[in-house]
């Protein structure tokens, strides 16, 4: 049976991971776009992204476009694996599959 991931299951972190996982084949997501998708506030999003980064699930990329600072985020391989595992756990729970 798949395992639950307590770090990912927090509601906003789940949204962040879902958004970044959906974009895993594309360019990293800009902070402002991630904010729109997750409907989070700046501070909340920043703190949860940091938690996910510390766990190695998310990579934060900071650079400049012209003179404007830009923060982007992307899911790591470990993050993708953890997210898939957590979704599998949720599906098993909903479908009532047990070992």
């Amino acid at each position: 049976m798949a395992q639950s991931d307590d770090l990912i299951h927090q509601p906003l972190r789940l949204k962040i991971m879902a958004a970044l996982y959906a974009e895993r084949a594309a360019e990293p997501l800009e902070f402002s776009r991630l904010k729109t998708i997750t409907q989070a506030t700046d501070g909340n999003l920043g703190s949860h992204l940091t938690a996910l980064e510390k766990a190695g699930y998310v990579e934060i990329l900071k650079d400049h476009v012209g003179k404007r600072p830009r923060t982007r985020a992307a899911v790591t391989q470990a993050g993708s694996k953890a997210f898939r595992g957590h979704v599998a756990y949720l599906r098993e729970l909903v479908e009532g599959i047990e070992e």
């Binding site: 299951h9 789940l14 879902a18 959906a22 974009e23 776009r33 949720l90 909903v94």
Partner: protein
């Protein structure tokens, strides 16, 4: 952590909602530049209708539409590549070309069958049609297009009833609304 079945179902629903919202915003980001391109095509087409004799209208629109269609396919492919959608050319481009061909054939057929005696009818009909198409897309798929369609539809009607003698120039000016809509979509 042990979750209940309903908590797990709620979490899956949240993931689904987030993924759909992401897809919608991605679609807006791809659609925005395409709308901006068509606003330029629209402005040039209507300016020509205001400045040139009616027998030039069809040819001018044909040329501009060709530029618009090619540009749309290229912008869509670029947008899809950037968004990591994967489809580069192939079925999506063919569908888009097919859809545009259907619209053009429909417009030509309507003019051929109804033969409007008032030149303003030729000017207004594409605007109304574009408004309806966007509104339809908005109703079924992406809500922002409903507002864009409603604005284009309303601007066409305002021009038809309020500024009929200068309708072509009015419609050319209305392209600014289409451009702003494109920026709105693109910025997400």
């Amino acid at each position: 952590m042990v979750l209940s079945k309903s908590e797990a179902a709620a979490a899956l629903a949240e993931i689904d909602t987030t993924t759909r919202r992401n897809g919608l915003l991605k679609g807006y980001r791809i659609g925005g530049p395409i709308l901006m391109l068509w606003s330029v095509v629209w402005a040039l087409g209507y300016l020509n209708m205001g400045l040139l004799a009616p027998h030039w209208w069809g040819w001018t629109w044909l040329g501009l539409d060709a530029v618009g269609v090619i540009g749309t396919v290229l912008l869509a492919q670029r947008g899809q590549r950037q968004a990591g959608v994967g489809a580069q050319g192939g079925p999506n481009s063919l569908r888009m070309l097919g859809g545009m061909a259907v619209v053009m054939i429909f417009v030509s057929a309507v003019f051929a069958v109804l033969r409007p005696t008032d030149p303003a009818g030729y000017v207004a009909f594409p605007g109304l049609l574009v408004g309806v198409i966007y509104a339809g897309v908005g109703v079924f798929f992406a809500r922002r297009y409903l507002l864009i369609g409603a604005v284009m539809f309303a601007l066409t009607l305002i021009g038809f009833y309020g500024f009929k003698e200068h309708l072509a120039f009015w419609m050319a000016s209305a392209s600014a609304a289409l451009f702003v809509s494109g920026v709105w979509l693109w910025r997400g």
